[in-house]
């Protein structure tokens, strides 16, 4: 009788010790994983692409109802405002037609000037369109999973573009899926040029909706409303891709609102501009003039 009573207690105690030990071991293992993630990025990337390839079909199914619901909501909203929308569009159409004439004129002028200058056109861009099936990371990382990968010739480093402008770039390309790092992510650094003065800067994400401009020269005056486009420096992106608008200038802290809306991203174009990223240099003379001809 004496021996039976302390046994469950001792067992419980032992169980608690084992559990505490497991806790400590796993916390240490988490920190070890952080080190591995820093040290062997290739390995981690391979595991990540494997995982995203595996999960993309499921995520595709899951994201279907969400987009259906939002489509229905949009439909209802549009029906309610169809009259005002119509008159607004008519105005816009008239304005755009005037712009079209201007663009035609400029295009013709551009063509003849290029002919005069023996201009060598940059490599032709090719693209694939992919559906966004997952938006991951929450406040800790901003990235998307899209349904195009190596079999569609998507490669790491290519630009992801929506109708509004640059969204980000491909950081991992699996077989049938790839991951796009949004330009708002803390790891995103994009060479841009700002305003009419085309001042060079780096657009750096910090996991908020409004990334910051870094390395802007102090003489350069930047105002809210200035347009930000890719500069084409380092050959990461072609010059002239629309990125966003400067929204606030506060004592050296310049914030940019990207043109793309994260909640509206349903399809993305993954564009191969034939640029090999930061490793190979491109002929700056060949790519720069094409940027100055864009309309605003």
């Amino acid at each position: 009788m004496k021996q039976t009573t302390p046994n469950p207690n001792r067992l419980n105690h032992l169980r608690m010790l084992v559990s505490r030990f497991a806790f400590i071991v796993l916390v240490v293992a988490s920190f070890a994983l952080m080190l591995i993630g820093k040290a062997d990025t290739m390995l981690v990337e391979r595991v990540r692409t494997f995982m995203s390839d595996a999960v993309t079909p499921v995520a595709g199914l899951l994201s279907q109802p969400a987009s259906t619901v939002s489509a229905v909501m949009d439909n209802m909203r549009e029906l309610a405002a169809i009259r005002e929308e119509n008159s607004r569009l008519r105005d816009e159409n008239a304005r755009l037609l005037r712009w079209q004439t201007a663009a035609r004129l400029l295009e013709a002028e551009n063509d003849s000037l290029r002919g005069l200058l023996n201009f060598v056109p940059g490599p032709r861009a090719s693209f694939v369109t992919a559906r966004v099936v997952a938006d991951t990371g929450g406040a800790f990382a901003h990235s998307l999973l899209v349904t195009a990968g190596g079999r569609e010739l998507v490669e790491k480093g290519q630009a992801a573009v929506s109708g509004e402008g640059l969204v980000g770039r491909v950081i991992e390309a699996g077989h049938r899926s790839s991951r796009v790092l949004l330009l708002t992510d803390i790891n995103s650094r994009i060479p841009v040029s700002v305003g009419n003065a085309r001042a060079r800067a780096i657009l750096a994400g910090d996991n908020t909706e409004r990334p910051r401009l870094l390395y802007l020269r102090s003489q350069v005056r930047v105002q809210p409303g200035d347009r930000v486009t890719t500069s084409g420096d380092a050959g990461a992106f072609p010059p002239g891709l629309p990125v966003g608008v400067v929204t606030s200038v506060d004592d050296g802290d310049v914030r940019v609102e990207p043109y793309f809306q994260r909640d509206k991203l349903e399809y993305l174009r993954i564009v191969d501009y034939g640029l090999m990223g930061v490793l190979t240099d491109i002929d700056p003379g060949a790519s720069r003039p094409s940027a100055s001809g864009d309309l605003r």
Partner: protein, 171 residues
């Protein structure tokens, strides 16, 4: 009477419910909701799930499963590897070490306690991310995520409770 093989199988598979539900929540949190400004402050659903099961059925999900969920989440969300398991282990560790406090408490008290536990989880993840990336991500976004997580707790807990009643009532 000894339970038959199938009875044991039945029990064992029902016992996987917390793990399966947490994995499903992880996938759900990746779905692009078309709500403006929602995705950058989306709630940490797995933290809610881990907390819920640690409070109500601590016998069903051990530290090992929680670690695994954290690693999977990091791999899928492209957050620095290791940040997910740290925050989930912190969540479970706090609840497990205060098991006496949580026993038989009302929903309001559990929610109130979640306020504190989720704060610890968010701070742990924030610090882990900052440690790996050697730059501090926006604190405002993390604070908003924390708020969203606390706000989503009743909904997720209600759904979990339905499942618990339906599947784990007898086992």
């Amino acid at each position: 009477m000894q339970p038959s093989f199938w009875q044991r199988m039945n029990g064992a598979s029902r016992h996987q419910l917390p793990l399966v539900l947490t994995l499903i929540l992880m996938l759900v949190s990746m779905v692009p909701t078309r709500l403006p400004d929602f995705m950058s402050i989306s709630p940490m659903l797995t933290v809610i799930s881990v907390y819920y099961w640690a409070v109500y059925r601590p016998d069903l999900m051990g530290y090992g499963s929680v670690f695994l969920i954290g690693v999977l989440e990091d791999l899928m969300a492209a957050t620095p590897l290791g940040a997910g398991p740290v925050s989930l282990l912190v969540t479970q560790g706090i609840v497990m070490s205060q098991a006496k406090f949580f026993r038989g408490k009302s929903f309001a008290v559990t929610w109130w306690a979640f306020l504190l536990v989720a704060a610890a989880a968010a701070v742990a993840k924030w610090m882990a991310v900052a440690l790996v990336q050697i730059s501090v991500p926006s604190g405002a976004a993390v604070l908003a995520t924390y708020g969203m997580t606390v706000a989503f707790y009743p909904v997720v807990a209600w759904i979990m409770a339905r499942f618990q009643l339906a599947i784990l009532r007898e086992v």
